[in-house]
Amino acid sequence: MWKRKGEIQPRYAKLSPDNLKVAEFLIEAYKGHVGAKKKVLKALCADLENQGHEYRFVRALALLLGRRSTFVCNSKVNPVDLRRKIFEAAEKTGLPTTSMKRQRILEFVASEMGLATESVEEYLYADLDDELVLEKFNPPATVELLEQYNLSLTQTLLFDSTELSFTASGNWQRLFYSVKKLGLIYEVYRDSGFWVKIDGPVSLFKLTKRYGTSMAKLLPIIVANPEWTINAKILWKYTNEICNFKMESRKHGSLLKKANLQPVVYDSAPEQSFASQFQAVKSGWTLKREPEPVPAGNKVIVPDFSLERGGLNIYVEIVGFWTEDYLLRKAEKLKQVEAKMLLLVDEALACEKLTALEKRPQLYFVYYHDKIPLAPILRYLEQAFEEVKAKEVKFLESLSVRFTEPVVVYDEFAERIGVSREAVKAVLCVSPPSGYVAFPNLLVSKEKLSHIDTRIGDHLLKSGKLSLTEATRIIEAEGVSDASNVLATLGYKTCWRGINSEQAEVSKRSVA
């Protein structure tokens, strides 16, 4: 841990040869001491410390290895029973203040239990922590141990945090679910990114570390993302000052262990069936699980799905099997949502508060019973898309675009302008700009077309014959796809002699 000018940072263990050596030594020690007592391992750690390695580092690594170990009590009899017998015998004969008396008691109990006297000595306190025997050890990779150490180090620092803000590139549902489950309160805000600020109910009244443990529990979920940033306020216990703690994936990502989070399982049957049904039909929309949260005032809704098509985003939230309290809060939040959202609501749960929201233009409700009906959803999506398309068409028409390039591909143009491909097509196909001919996927300048026409004509003149394959090659060499439509437009016909385009012959249609 170091602290300077109000900033605080844990002393991370770099993946340096020195640190790797210590980690490897310890892992090998544990591996080699299966069957040995815990106190032997403790002595090995003490040796490392005496050799000048940082004692906190050594002990922390040992602690982490201890979590991967199984220690057992190595005794043929239950030490508690053995002790009872010994103490009772000692009380009966009087406490042994000489070693002779002591020996006699031990021998008596040993013979009674059918043990050797030395075994009685050995087993008497075999259940003490130091006397436990390493039975099993599950060794980590050396690097992994250091990464785990760094993660634990950060968590330990966060135990003393009073508030924490973070950005992350994903895992939102899990994050907000955990925030709620841990009894924390969040607020969201945007500057350069989407930030979530976390503290708890009591934080309103005073600076408290009460929620530090909970914040530490969030850490593995945050850093499991490829990109993240964390800012925390740490109450430094020794001086009682507030320090800033910052870390980010760019600098620290490689130092920390990445939790292997299981992908979120579909949490309800309606969700699961909706996802699979929706993906089975070709709707033109892309379904995305766990999209970025939708801001609703200073709270968020983490929708179940987002649907994307040509730059249009519609969020989907399935409202099924929840308490009234939950629905009311949801309704409250939805009031503030700016984004378009499709709400699939279990009929049985429909309530006045929710239906009152139906008037809001950005929300659309579909009620279901048992199974989510796809038809009304698709109708809504189509309509929503048409609306957006109409707006975009208007916008495109208001632009007076002048093209200079010989070929304009709709997809590329749509992306450049930020509208849907469909809108571009609707505008350009219906009324192509002068000097251009419109094809289903692109515009080609008349100049380019006549150039292609000349080249094909030349070829036909020279060899008297032209296969479709060859013609396609010529057209594509000019940077134009969609050869067959181009040929048709230029007045060529294709005569097929089988399914092979090698054998399909292109000829000039005789002008009537």
Binding site: L95, P96, T97, R102, Y125, G183, P201, L204, F205
Partner: protein
């Protein structure tokens, strides 16, 4: 209508009204109030004639409490004072003066949902037993792996703190056993996150060396009754004698002791560090975290102390004392767990430390109580309030310098029994720091005991 409800250890108030006790919470869009202000907020609404909806409490069902507790005169006085102080306040009574019974009587008097908060799992067992015996109801338990809430529930400070968001609205009466713990920075939130208006604190040692007991009036109420050990000695508690025996270290031990101690002292001299008070020492401990040489010095000091505490000569003297008090019930105290186990192994005496399984600990106590075992050796686990049945001799081998520990160890021996004089014997090493620790330990107990040294 404004609505007031409990939210994770605080109260939320929604509606067109505020209270002088609340604070606007922009995160939630409503007023938030400390749970401990529940009664104040309610009084405010009532006096202002504001109609409101109260959704705060979530109380477990009441059960038929039947008390068979008869209080002694001073216990009755304590309870009276507490009632007159508005069912709030701290009672300061020495160990073994029957604090438990006063609290049980108070529960019987209020007949309301009660949470009893105690420092250790042992005390949970003890209170559970007493609740059953004296009130005739089964107690719920939160802590130590159990989580059952009933009309009378017992919990540890740890659980009461961590579970405050779930438990804060489930009781109207809080009993804090060993209430001085409540003043620590973490635990004090228990005082703030529970709505219970009725509160009682019990302790033998009201003052804390860090002065934080000044917070207790806010959290539980003022001290309303106090009686000291002298007033009770002989009347309700057994009289006792105190004896201090010094032993010399063996020559070998002396060599080790002085060698290690000089490492420590030289370091202090070199760095011009003066250790006068416990807080000086704490400051020094902190530096050992970042300064390897300071750590070395600290380890040397610990090694020296260990030699002094574990001295062979002391064990031999212990053997003599065990012979001397052959027919008495003896408790042996020591600071180091290692020493507990070497005494246990050498003299085949039942041992109790933090490592002793709970079942075994219970069994050893039971056997000690019935007289089946006459001697038990233990480290610091018995420090607070655990009912150890009437021992008549206490042997102390080493210990820390804090006053509280001493008073309570002492108190443990002082169970009233006909014609009994308790003996307390402390065995220390001559010419070592241990003498200093022992002197400090006596600084505040003083007068009432009959010192024969």
């Amino acid at each position: 209508m404004p609505r007031l409800w409990f939210d994770k250890g605080t109260l939320l108030l929604k509606g067109e009204v505020g209270t002088p006790y609340g604070k606007w919470d922009p995160r939630s869009g409503c007023y938030r109030i400390k749970a401990s202000h529940y009664r104040d907020a309610v009084d405010y609404f009532k006096e202002s004639k504001i109609r409101y909806e109260d959704d705060v409490l979530n109380l477990p069902p009441l059960e038929q409490v039947k008390s068979n507790v008869e209080l002694r005169t001073y216990q009755n006085k304590a309870l009276d004072n507490w009632c007159r102080a508005g069912y709030r306040g701290v009672l300061v009574l020495p160990t073994a003066a029957g604090k438990t019974f006063i609290a049980l009587k108070a529960i019987d008097f209020l007949k309301t949902q009660t949470l009893i908060i105690v420092p250790t799992l042992d005390l949970i067992d003890q209170w559970r037993k007493r609740v059953k015996e004296c009130l005739g109801v089964e107690a719920g338990v939160v802590g130590g792996g159990e989580n059952v809430v009933r009309m009378v529930t017992v919990s540890t400070y740890d659980s009461a703190y961590s579970q405050a968001p779930q438990l804060g609205n489930r009781f109207l009466f809080l009993v804090f056993d060993e209430v001085h713990h409540l003043a620590s920075p973490g635990y004090m939130q228990i005082g703030e996150m529970y709505v219970a208006p009725y509160r009682m604190g019990l302790t033998a040692t009201y003052e804390r060396s860090d002065q934080r007991h000044a917070l207790l009036p806010l959290l539980v109420g003022d001290p309303v009754y106090s009686i000291n050990i002298e007033e009770l000695t002989g009347k309700h508690l057994a009289p006792y004698t105190y004896e201090k025996v010094s032993v010399e270290l063996t020559p070998d031990e002396q060599v080790t002791y002085h060698a290690q101690m000089s490492v420590f002292k030289n370091f202090l001299r070199e760095r011009k560090i003066v250790l006068k008070s416990p807080s000086d020492f704490q400051q020094f401990i902190m530096t050992t975290g970042r300064d390897p040489r300071a750590r070395e010095a600290l380890l040397a000091r610990n090694k020296a102390l260990k030699v002094a505490v574990n001295s062979e000569v002391k064990l031999n003297l212990l053997a003599e004392k065990l012979e001397e008090y052959k027919n008495e019930k003896i408790l042996i105290f020591t600071l180091y767990n290692d020493l507990v186990y070497s005494i246990s192994r050498r003299f085949l005496i039942p041992a109790i430390t933090y490592q002793t399984p709970r079942e075994e600990r219970r069994e050893i106590f039971a056997n000690f109580g019935s007289g089946k075992y006459k001697v038990v050796v233990t480290s610091q686990v018995l420090d607070e309030g655990v009912d150890v049945p009437d021992a008549s001799v206490g042997l102390i081998l080493g210990g820390t310098g804090s006053t509280r520990e001493y008073v309570q160890r002492l108190g443990r021996l002082l169970r009233k029994k006909e014609g009994k004089t308790a003996k307390l014997v402390e065995i220390i090493s001559k010419e070592t720091v241990e003498v200093g620790i022992s002197r400090r330990r006596h600084a505040k107990t003083g007068g009432g005991c009959i010192v024969a040294s």
